[in-house]
Symmetry: C2
Subunit: 160 residues, 2 copies
């Protein structure tokens, strides 16, 4: 069947032109959540600035509640360095239920964070936060955070 | 050329299998910004609850600064109805620079909002906000907002 044999490479070339490999949402969700959990571990240790900022893309934007937006890797490095040098600072977070674009190349997740910051008289205050992170699958096959925004949950009812 | 004529439908079918039409980022950005501006107009009029909530997807999540998250269309309807019934309430926003997934089916934008709310002694207070909205191109070809989160910019320096 010489004609069939000639068809196949053409179909294969046409399919390669689709430019996206098969996308398995469950596998990708697992991968992204694992990467985010690893990021939280690195950040919570509060020591390795370069490793911590490697999870953001070079063009990432961080929009913290009540503080100026932080645009790009250099500004994020300063932000993280200052945080890690703040006595009493710590952060830890957990994200959930990644949602993907149909092609599996962009994703977003909701998350919750716990931060400790210096309080009055040498104490520390613990703050809860809610976050949205948006992630991009870069050409090197690595997920990186491109937008990182958080705000305050409702004020807790007074105890007792 | 009988062989070439036979090839073409096969290549066409293979290409249709790619399942996404050509995506023009500039055209889609224009379309999305226009839709967002139209949404702000409808919301700022403060009258048409159903039209206002039609820009969110049925599964949308709204995460307002300092208030409980609002999940799904029914809860969003209550939220918007309550806002529109609040004397002195108004909202207006502007988004910019949409960023798209490679397939053009998911997008996000930064935005800024101006809200007026009741203040002390019958006055109104004007609040500035920063927002991230995430948009999904639904199967009917319409962009709908799936995540809508905002927080406060840094407190303004005291005037004078």
């Amino acid at each position: 069947m010489p004609r069939v044999r000639t068809f196949l490479p053409i179909v294969a070339i046409a399919l390669l032109g689709c430019a996206h490999p098969p996308f398995d949402p469950d596998a990708e969700a697992h991968k992204l959540l694992q990467r985010d959990a690893e990021w939280s571990e690195v950040a919570s240790a509060g020591k390795d600035v370069e490793k911590t900022i490697s999870y953001w893309s070079d063009d990432a934007v961080v929009i913290p509640q009540g503080q100026p937006s932080i645009e790009g890797k250099a500004a994020i490095r300063e932000f993280v360095t200052a945080s890690f040098h703040t006595p009493g600072f710590s952060i830890r977070w957990k994200s959930e239920k990644p949602q993907f674009s149909a092609d599996g190349k962009l994703a977003y997740m909701r998350g919750t964070s716990t931060t400790t910051v210096p309080g009055p008289n040498g104490s520390t205050m613990t703050l809860q936060g809610r976050a949205i992170t948006i992630w991009r699958l870069d050409a090197d096959g690595q997920w990186r955070c491109v937008v990182d925004m958080w705000n305050d949950p409702p004020a807790a009812a007074p105890a007792g």
